[in-house]
Amino acid sequence: MTSGSGSLAIRPAPVKKSVSVKASPEQAFRVFTERFDAWWPRSHSIGESPLKQAVIESKVGGRWYGKLENGTEAEWGDVLAWEPPRRLLLAWRIGVDWKYDPDLLTEVEVTFTSEVGGATRVELEHRHLERMGEGAEGARAQFDSDGGWGLLLRLFAEIAEQAS
C-alpha cells in the first residue's frame, strides 16, 4: 500500500463547454429539456442495459434519469434549479465507481445567453468533481477492475479510433 498517496491526489478543475446555436434561448432551453431524449447520445448511459429513453422532469426536485431497455431505470440525479429560458442546474450523482450515490453532489450548470444575430450561447459547467473522490475508499479497487480504468481506457480507445 502507498500510505503517502494522498499527496498525489489530483484536484480536477471543472469541465467547461460552450457552443453557439442558431436559435433563441427559449428554443434552446426547450430542446435541452423537453426534447432531451431526442438529442442525448445513446452511448451516454450507465447501467446493465441499453438506454431506451432519457428524461428530465421539468421542475425543481424533478429527476433526470434513463429508462433502460430491460425495464429498469438508471438514476443520474435531480433538478436543482429550473429557470427557463436562462439557466438549468442539475445534480449529477454518479461517482467514479459508475454508480448512483444519493449522497454525492456534483453540479451541472447550463446557461443560455442571447448573442448578436439571434444566436444563443449554451455554456455548460460540470463542477465539484473532487467530491467524487471523497470517502471513496472503494474507488481505487473499482478503477483497478475492468469496469473502472479498463472501461475508461476502452472508451478512449474507441473515440480515438473514430476520430482518426
Binding site: L8, K22, A23, V31, A38, A139, R140, A157, I159
Partner: protein, 111 residues
C-alpha cells in the same frame, strides 16, 4: 476539432495507455515502468511528461527517484472522460436545436 483536448490526445496513444495500465497497479519509478516494455526509458519519460501535463498522472520525489502514480481515486481519468462526454453531448444538442429551429435543415415540418 472536438477531440483535441490534452487528456484525449494523451490517452489516444497505445504506449501511453500501456503506461497507465502499469501504473494502475501501483506507483512506480520510470525504470520499473519501462521494464518489459518495447520502448526505451527516455521514451517512457517523454510519455510520462505528456500524461502529467494532461492531468492523468502525478509525480513526487522519493530520494533520488521520481515516483509516478495515477490519481488513486481515478479523478483525473474521470475528468478526462467527462470532458469528452460533454463535448459529444453539446454537439448533439446543437444539431437537434438547429434542426428544430430551421426546419429547412431537417425533416421537422411543424411551423
Amino acid at each position: 476539432m472536438a477531440y483535441s483536448n490534452a487528456a484525449f490526445a494523451a490517452i489516444a496513444d497505445p504506449t501511453r495507455r500501456q503506461v497507465l495500465e502499469r501504473l494502475s497497479a501501483r506507483p512506480m519509478a520510470v525504470g520499473e515502468i519501462a521494464a518489459g516494455m518495447p520502448v526505451s526509458r527516455p521514451a517512457v519519460s517523454q510519455h510520462l511528461k505528456v500524461l502529467k501535463e494532461a492531468g492523468l498522472v502525478s509525480d513526487r520525489q522519493d530520494g533520488t527517484r521520481r515516483i509516478y502514480a495515477i490519481d488513486p481515486k481515478g479523478l483525473g481519468a474521470m475528468r478526462a472522460w467527462l470532458d469528452q462526454f460533454w463535448d459529444g453531448a453539446l454537439l448533439a444538442l446543437k444539431a437537434e436545436i438547429e434542426r428544430e429551429a430551421d426546419p429547412a435543415n431537417g425533416k421537422d415540418e411543424d411551423q
